[in-house]
């Protein structure tokens, strides 16, 4: 496949692995910040290959996993209202709220539709004028333009029955939160490639100088990731703190300015509750007042109470890199993709799901 298989070149990968081993004089701690990268690192055995030289820990790279229980409960309650359809991505409907997931709500008569794109939810609204369509808008900066376009389309079509439940999150404030956590071990970041396709990488420059931590933008294929890891190791060995872009085919310094303009037209940066992290300042988006009538949180009354449930899930520790999935005592025992205890095992971008799928065999000791 053009521009894909070339970046899975085995001999280049082997050479890069050897270069990383040769350059690392000690075991450096690197965090990837994208669920897609986590999956590739585990799937291609990169983590195991480099075990002695690099400690690869996984960050908050799954927006579905960090969506707050309160918002899921709200979406569930909306799906159970008459003449209301909640639309979202397939992963989102399986994540448990405090009582039910949207999938469980569907089995109780809730109206839930899986869509591939937010603009598909606009089409559903246009075809079902008698129903209210609520799109549960999760995702990082990569997905925010798609929701913004959906809202602009609904506005242009004059749809009165379309709204979104905003749950978009922003990556950089979460990285700042991780750097300020007690016991943080991250020494360099692999930045999320497709988030940077939208945002660019200039935003990391103040972050790098504040926290003295190198950031390398990487893609998703094995050779991309190994090239990114090698660059992190080189910078750490030389004591350099800078931002480097190893995904030039998709990312430039300024990012996609058309996409940023679309996001900024519809959204404003806002604080957001992250599951497992708490409130992150500037950690998400809210709709601008001009588009407030498309905000499901304003259009519908929040008549649902979230109940506090005791959970053994250590998703917050997994997503902040404090433990690896297999160090969770429930991994593969009480928690599997068929019967997940937490979002990182549910979502296809979740770190626990990545290990369960690609590296389930040896279990590590719980910490």
């Amino acid at each position: 496949m053009k521009y894909l298989s070339e970046f899975r070149n085995v001999s280049a990968a082997k050479i890069l692995v050897q270069q990383i081993r040769d350059r690392a004089t000690r075991r450096w701690v690197l965090m990837d910040v994208c669920g897609g990268q986590t999956h590739s690192l585990v799937r291609y055995g990169i983590e195991q290959e480099l075990e002695e030289h690099v400690d690869l820990i996984h960050g908050p790279g799954c927006p579905v996993c960090v969506t707050s229980t309160e918002l899921i409960d709200f979406a569930v309650s909306l799906s159970l209202q008459p003449d209301t359809i909640v639309a979202s991505f397939g992963d989102m409907i399986r994540v448990p709220g405090s009582r039910d997931s949207l999938m469980q709500a569907r089995s109780r008569g809730g109206n839930v539709k899986i869509v591939y794109s937010p603009v598909d939810a606009v089409l559903i609204a246009a075809k079902n004028p008698q129903s209210q369509i609520v799109f549960f808008a999760v995702g990082f900066e990569t997905t925010a333009p798609a929701t913004a376009i959906a809202i602009l389309q609904a506005a242009k079509l004059g749809l009165q029955n379309f709204s979104v439940l905003p749950a978009h999150v922003r990556v950089l404030p979460a990285m700042q939160t991780i750097m300020e956590m007690p016991g943080n071990r991250v020494e360099a970041f692999l930045a999320a490639g497709h988030v940077c396709s939208v945002t660019g990488f200039a935003q990391y420059e103040p972050f790098v100088s504040n926290y003295k931590v190198p950031v390398v933008v990487t893609g998703f294929e094995p050779v991309d990731l190994l090239g990114g890891i090698l660059r992190c190791v080189e910078m750490l060995e030389q004591g350099i703190c800078a931002v480097d872009n190893r995904y030039g085919r998709s990312v430039c310094r300024a990012g996609n300015e058309s996409a940023q303009a679309i996001i900024n037209r519809v959204y404003m940066v806002d604080d957001r509750d992250w599951r497992g992290f708490g409130t992150i300042s500037g950690g998400g988006y809210r709709l601008r007042s001009e588009f407030a009538n498309f905000d499901a949180a304003k259009r519908f009354e929040r008549c649902v109470q979230t109940v506090a449930v005791e959970s053994l899930c250590r998703g917050g520790d997994v997503m902040s890199g404090r433990i690896k999935p297999k160090q969770c005592p429930a991994f593969g025992v009480g928690c599997t993709p068929e019967s997940p205890m937490g979002a990182p095992m549910v979502s296809s971008e979740g770190a626990c799901a990545a290990y369960y799928r690609f590296d389930p065999l040896q279990l590590e000791k719980p910490r």
């Binding site: 053009k2 894909l4 333009p145 376009i149 602009l152 497709h194 396709s197 998709s250 058309s258 996409a259």
Partner: protein
């Protein structure tokens, strides 16, 4: 996965759309974020929306760097 733009369907800034081919399969993709993309270019698509145009010269630069790696490796006595 990058897809190649086959033809534009709609150039409206909000409803922009093109046919994009991914490994032989064609799909309609929303193009509002890449309004200047041209037929034959490759785009990365996320949630049904093209989020960037792939920079082919950068892709070739990276591939050329792999090639050099392999050549240098050949010269190193094993």
């Amino acid at each position: 996965m990058p897809g190649r733009i086959v033809r534009w369907i709609d150039r409206d800034p909000t409803f922009a759309k093109a046919v994009v081919e991914f490994a032989g399969v064609s799909r309609d993709v929303h193009m509002a974020c890449v309004p200047d993309a041209t037929v034959g270019q490759y785009v990365i698509v996320h949630a049904g929306i093209a989020i960037c145009v792939l920079d082919e010269s950068e892709a070739h630069k990276t591939l050329a760097a792999f090639k050099m790696l392999e050549e240098v490796d050949d010269e190193i006595p094993q």
